[in-house]
């Protein structure tokens, strides 16, 4: 059971969350060709290792946030807000639990 550090609530069991897939996928312009549009819809890096992904705390605050997580060890390295850029340092920096 992974412990996911919700950006609002702090560490909770993984089954309180839904994974929303890879972060930072930008929708292309509507005039983009099939190749670009298909790439946006379907093609993914799917890394074996450090992955930037979106999670939502559906059985809690309902908030979306980003995780830096290792897809082999499941270790959560970092958490950052939906509108933030990914952290340059991929080290463990868990948020403080709420008082």
């Amino acid at each position: 059971m992974m412990r996911i550090p919700c950006i609002c609530c702090g560490p909770r069991d993984e089954n309180e969350f839904v994974c929303g897939g890879t972060s930072h996928i930008e929708r292309p312009a509507l005039e983009a060709g099939d190749e670009t549009w298909g790439g946006y819809l379907f093609f993914r890096d799917n890394p074996k290792g450090v992955h930037l992904e979106r999670w939502r705390h559906v059985q809690g605050c309902g908030r979306w946030f980003n995780l830096v997580r290792n897809t082999v060890t499941h270790e959560v390295l970092s958490v950052y807000a939906m509108t933030e850029a990914p952290p340059r340092e991929r080290s463990a920096s868990m948020p403080e639990p709420p008082p």
């Binding site: 993984e14 190749e35 897809t71």
Partner: protein
């Protein structure tokens, strides 16, 4: 040597000293006509059919671990062809037909048990969608029978058939030709038959890069050095994206853990395969007596091969709702594979953006039943440069053209 009752008897008379290894521990060459990356069922089957169907024997199968140690050794052994679309029906039923004669073709007992597959309906909605599904199969020339609750009960009496069951059984449909096969035997049978035709099977050989010359594939860089070949086929399931990245392209694949587990062995209580689309759970009993269970994915990207307890609990909860008496069993062993899931739950079999490099992937949670057809069609495109007719609808290009074969939505199979 051929396996037969006579060779068993001969062995019994002579202390069983005449047996030879099932496949040759080949000395790796520095170049081949074809390299197959991935020594699971699909890769080994492709090597066999390259030799058998096309006379291409200068082939090496490179496996980073031990053959059949990936998803081929981790599935719940179900074989079936109950898909919705005509393209899928043709593909999977071709595979099931190959399974039906595979023990004879390979001279290796793959323990095919066509004990039927019963799909359960738990609601009026389920009954309607089962009718649509069974009728689609019949229109595609595959036998499927709608059955009543009583008929389901006769096939699997250990089910909770009471009126206040958590998952009431209202009926379902049956594919009688479906069933199980011994997964390891499929890998070993194809390995032995391919090796006998001259294919080299090389284990502990991890591909770490592709050798490209003028943009075309010229070989692979491995943990055992560079091996050259003008044609390379990838059959690496959950590791497809890793290999694609090494070759400079992307796939519409996300890798997830798919868990499976077995109970302690017990006396026969279930002699068919039961699948409940409503819960996603599928259950059968192995020849050793273990209850074999599987269900939904752990729904986050993972290469860990182990899944979480939260999903184990969900799988077991579904199985126990169907078979309450199983609650007394001890869980013996659990594990997971790495499944390569694509959005339409249909495979990708054909060329990649790199000339000379071909791929067979995207089978997701449904690759075991398709080992024969996956191998057959990958071999075809490697040997001829053209897609087999069965594989034509299943190209990488469909994700650009938008012509998906959407089995995920259509037949409700959680791939």
């Amino acid at each position: 040597m051929r396996y037969s009752a006579w060779s068993l008897l001969r062995g019994a008379m002579s202390g069983h000293r005449h047996w030879v290894p099932a496949w040759a521990d080949a000395t790796r060459r520095s170049n081949y006509d074809v390299i197959i990356v991935g020594g699971g069922g699909h890769g080994l089957a492709a090597a066999y059919y390259l030799a058998k169907n096309h006379g291409v024997t200068n082939v090496a199968v490179l496996e980073r671990g031990w053959i059949g140690g990936g998803n081929t050794g981790r599935n719940t052994t179900i074989v079936r062809s109950n898909y919705l679309f005509p393209e899928s029906a043709r593909l999977y039923d071709f595979s099931l037909k190959l399974y039906e004669s595979l023990s004879q073709d390979l001279n290796f007992n793959i323990m095919l048990s066509q004990r039927a597959l019963v799909m359960l309906a738990h609601s009026r909605h389920d009954l309607d969608s089962m009718s649509r599904w069974a009728n689609a199969m019949r229109m595609n020339g595959i036998v499927a029978e709608l059955v009543t609750a009583a008929e389901v009960g006769a096939m699997a009496p250990a089910l909770d058939l009471s009126s206040n069951a958590r998952l009431p059984v209202l009926g379902g449909f049956v594919q009688r030709r479906a069933g199980t096969a011994r997964h390891d035997a499929v890998a070993w049978g194809y390995a032995r038959a391919a090796s006998a035709l001259g294919v080299h099977i090389i284990q502990n050989c991890e591909v770490r890069g592709f050798v490209l010359e003028s943009g075309k594939v010229a070989g692979v860089d491995t943990s055992q050095g560079v091996i050259r070949a003008g044609r390379v086929g990838i059959a690496a399931a959950g590791h497809s994206s890793v290999l694609a990245k090494l070759a400079g392209f992307r796939l519409p694949v996300t890798s997830y853990a798919l868990q499976a587990m077995v109970s302690e062995p017990i006396k026969p209580i279930l002699d068919t395969v039961v699948l409940s689309p409503g819960t996603g759970a599928y259950v059968s009993q192995s020849d050793k007596g273990e209850i074999v269970m599987g269900a939904m994915l752990d729904l986050f990207p993972s290469y860990a091969q182990r899944g979480s307890f939260a999903v184990k609990q969900a799988i077991i909860a579904a199985v126990l709702a169907l078979f309450p008496s199983f609650s007394r069993l001890q869980l013996l062993r659990q594990w997971a594979g790495i499944v390569d899931v694509v959005h339409d739950s249909s495979p990708i079999i054909g060329p990649t953006p790199v000339p000379g490099l071909y791929i067979n992937c995207g089978w997701g949670t449904g690759g075991f039943k398709a080992i024969p057809v996956g191998g057959w069609t990958l071999a075809h495109v490697l040997a001829t440069g053209k897609s087999h007719a069965l594989a034509e609808p299943f190209q990488l290009q469909r994700f650009i053209d938008g012509r998906l074969i959407d089995e995920a939505a259509a037949s409700g199979i959680a791939h």
